[in-house]
Symmetry: C2
Subunit: 144 residues, 2 copies
DNA sequence: CTAATTGCAAATTGTTTGCAGTTTA
DNA sequence: TAAACTGCAAACAATTTGCAATTAG
């Protein structure tokens, strides 16, 4: 779905800034920091401000258009949320590649938790490591 | 194990600040922010500085004495690392209670990832919700 | 005694806010 | 044209740093 449609669907005003941010996220299969996004967007929209990027990532997040990833090492990363249901991430520590994972561990333990009187509302499951490409050839970056 | 032994075992100098920080973590079963820890430690060690707390949390982390939790909602939380092997956390969003979980989802998919050429190095699995106590009675805090 | 550690103050980073002008629906 | 959105500059919170004095081994 293109940027404009995504925005309209969520009843958000269609601005050039929002379209640009979404396009950046659409044109990559890696997770990006707010800074990454800003420095990409500014190429096509030289006037844009950092606060606009932050504000829009927040609204996109609240509307479920993007999702947020917070690696143990710190920092906050974003990616476009896939429309096809709940899933988790496998993320390459070298190139940032984000691979969706269908498997969800909650199914296996939901019942057990409820038994103990704990009511789960959210969970996160993320896997970090090296993707096929980065495994093999060459130098590693370790950006996070 | 008492604070002093923990430090000696990791070949760290035993200072009153480090002992105090570890004791705070030992005397709770909830996850704590750096700020929480600081305001607790300062009660017994009035002169301690925030930077000392941060620096020491870093060394304790690197030595595996504490572990770090970063909820999706932001912020960084710490708790004493349990000695008994790998485990994950179930955390109450109301009172911060941290319940260890023996179950680890990696076993179930490790092989599948390797097949795809992905080499996992780390992972995280955290569950958030409400513990038995908070489920029932009373007002909720939602501190994170 | 020497290297590690601490307190202090200042710097830095990442993010958020108020406001006045601009744009979208 | 009203409400939403943006740029700007300033504020902010959390964390880090350099340095001189202190302390543990």
């Amino acid at each position: 779905m293109d940027a404009e449609k995504l925005l309209k669907k969520q009843q958000l005003k269609v601005t050039s800034q929002r379209k640009a941010i979404i396009r950046v996220l659409q044109n990559t299969d890696t997770v990006l920091s707010a800074h990454d996004i800003f420095s990409e967007v500014i190429k096509t929209l030289p006037g844009i401000n950092f606060s606009t990027v932050y504000r829009n990532l927040d609204v996109l997040l609240s509307k479920g258009i993007v999702c947020r990833i917070t690696p143990e090492s710190g920092g906050v990363l974003y990616e476009l949320r896939r429309e096809d249901g709940h899933h988790h991430h496998v993320i390459c520590k070298n190139c940032g590649a984000s691979i969706p994972l269908e498997y969800c561990p909650m199914e296996d333990i939901q019942a057990k938790l409820m038994e103990k009187g704990f009511t789960p509302t959210e969970h996160r499951f993320e896997i970090y490591g090296y993707c096929e490409k980065c495994n093999k050839g060459g130098e590693l970056n370790e950006p996070f």
